[in-house]
């Protein structure tokens, strides 16, 4: 009986949370592919201007249709070496500070900010701590609360904890159909609460980390349906981004900020 049920679920493309967790960690959509697929004229910008550049965060300016925008994308890397150097998409403090710099720059030139998040979390390293990982995330969140340009954040794989929130403090947060967004990984959750990281599947079930769960709780605004046909997905995102940004652009800077703050005040 359980076999038949899970077969049915697969048929309807409805995965269990544990399956979604697994899927969210697969290389379904790559950072560069997303940038090239949605935007044109991408110009990459490096460095935090404080002494560092973190390759796990790709940032730059591009066009969305005809509109100039700032794009910030967490990159997990392509092959094993790339993944190692990007710590599988776990930013260092100087990655968040690069993002802050590009956000401030976007604000100055009145460019909307579009972020794509796929991270297991901020990197838990020695140097990261020494350089203020906590401060870097705290400032990203605080800065995001003050910017007067439209901000949309899209979680396309893993949305792990504060490291994800640092790039998801926005007017709207969207998720890919098989992405996750959570306080920490199901493994970490199980190990903290039950002292047993092997109970991660059980944790995934009760954590409510799928896009569907989070849409119900109003943590996110929209779920992007996935397809093997990536251009189709990108076309959909481009269209929706264009629509939502033009409606956010109708608001005055003050209205925009009040609305963004109220979005989080509700929790």
């Amino acid at each position: 009986m359980p076999d038949i049920l899970s077969g049915l679920k697969l048929f309807k493309r409805e995965l269990t949370p544990a399956q979604v967790v697994k899927k969210s960690r697969e290389d379904r959509f790559m950072a560069r592919e997303i940038i090239d697929g949605i935007f044109t004229e991408f110009v990459e910008l490096h460095g935090d201007r404080l002494g560092g550049d973190d390759m796990s965060i790709i940032g730059g300016i591009a066009r969305l249709g005809t509109m100039p925008v700032t794009v910030i994308v967490v990159d997990k890397g392509i092959d094993i070496h790339d993944k190692l150097s990007k710590r599988n998409g776990s930013p260092e403090p100087w990655g968040y500070r690069k993002a802050q710099r590009l956000m401030q720059q976007a604000n100055r030139f009145n460019r909307p900010i579009i972020m794509f998040v796929n991270t297991p979390g901020a990197f838990p390293g020695k140097e990261a701590e020494a350089q203020g990982q906590g401060e870097a995330i705290a400032k990203s969140i605080l800065d995001s609360m003050k910017l007067t340009v439209p901000m949309i954040s899209i979680i396309y794989g893993e949305g792990g904890s504060g490291g994800a929130l640092a790039l998801a403090t926005a007017d709207q947060v969207w998720m890919f159909q098989n992405a996750t967004y959570s306080i920490l990984s199901p493994e970490g959750f199980a190990s903290i609460l039950w002292k047993d990281s092997k109970r991660s599947e059980e944790a995934a079930e009760i954590m409510g980390l799928t896009a569907k769960d989070l849409l119900e709780k109003n943590i996110i605004e929209y779920i992007i349906p996935e397809s093997r046909n990536h251009p189709r997905v990108f076309n959909l995102i481009r269209k929706r981004l264009t629509d939502e940004i033009s409606s956010l652009n109708q608001l005055t800077p003050d209205e925009l900020i009040v609305k963004r703050r109220n979005r989080f005040r509700a929790f």
Binding site: K126, E129, I141, G162, L165, Y181, L184, R261, F264
Partner: protein, 280 residues
């Protein structure tokens, strides 16, 4: 019996301090969780500070009020979780409430510190390890909103193990919710003073603990984002003793001053006065 039941290697670990038995140390002898020095309970004095290294033993929020203020009016005392539906959460909350006489992991209110009126928040590490629940976030947010409306400085003592797992994503959202209130308070050009106390970690470090205009800290307090064990297992390296201690943070530029507990009230009041805009 107390004398014999305290195993030596147990007391040298900081982690033990969090256990309920050590909550209000009632033993004749105590070991400093930081330097390991043995001392009589009474040697700690009213500030409960290690006579050897100056480490401040963890205090309950209400104990700190006694040491810090002449006058305190609590705000939002009854705010608490409506439906703690995660398995076992309701019982945990109840236990924490009876142990701390608090409804949530932070105590907020209006206080006079050496004659200066401030909006004061004190997190309590004895309440579910000071974890950031949605009602913790709500109380701190309201404190900032009140302070912004009434043009008051905010003084916040942080102590937290991080997110409250039982509340999942809602706990994460508190980091942004409080930050929004901090942003509004900043825009009103009001002072936000943080005092980092032992321990301040995780989501609290990655939000309002690191957003102050001025950041003070108690000696040897542990402050960091990721847990030491997580870091050690990630980088396969043993971490030095003073890793994530505020002395290291001071060196790296993330703290303004490390202040002995007995000096805090005086210094806070002085800083607040320096931010009073009215001319004499």
């Amino acid at each position: 019996m107390e004398l014999y039941s305290n195993k030596k290697n147990d007391t040298s670990k900081i982690k033990k301090d969090a256990s309920v038995n050590d909550r209000i140390p009632d033993g004749l002898f105590l070991a400093c969780p930081y330097c390991g020095a043995q001392m009589y309970n009474k040697q700690l004095g009213k500030y409960r500070v290690c006579a050897k290294c100056g480490y401040g033993f963890r205090l309950q929020a209400r104990e700190r009020i006694e040491l810090l203020t002449q006058n305190f009016e609590e705000m939002d005392a009854d705010i608490q979780m409506d439906h703690p539906d995660f398995p076992g959460y309701a019982e945990k909350l109840k236990r924490a409430q009876s142990q701390t006489e608090l409804a949530e992991s932070v105590l907020t209110g209006l206080a006079d510190i050496e004659g200066e009126r401030v909006a004061l928040g004190i997190m309590d590490s004895y309440f579910m390890m000071g974890s950031l629940g949605s009602m913790t976030g709500e109380k701190i947010t309201r404190l900032f909103e009140y302070a912004t409306a009434h043009r008051l400085p905010v003084v916040l003592f942080t102590a937290s193990g991080g997110a409250r797992m039982q509340e999942g994503i809602n706990s994460l959202m508190q980091m942004a919710k409080v930050s929004a209130a901090v942003a509004a308070h900043q825009e009103a050009k009001l002072l936000y003073l943080v005092v980092l106390t032992d321990p301040t970690t995780g989501g609290v470090t990655a939000s309002f603990a690191m957003q102050g205009d001025i950041t003070l800290a108690e000696p040897h307090a542990l402050v960091g984002f990721a847990g030491a064990r997580v870091i050690e297992s990630t980088i396969h390296e043993k971490l030095p003793k003073d890793f994530q201690r505020v002395e290291t943070l001071l060196e790296n530029g993330f703290v303004d001053q490390i202040v002995p507990r007995s000096e805090l009230a005086r210094l806070i009041a002085q800083i607040v006065r320096l931010h009073t805009t009215e001319a004499e």
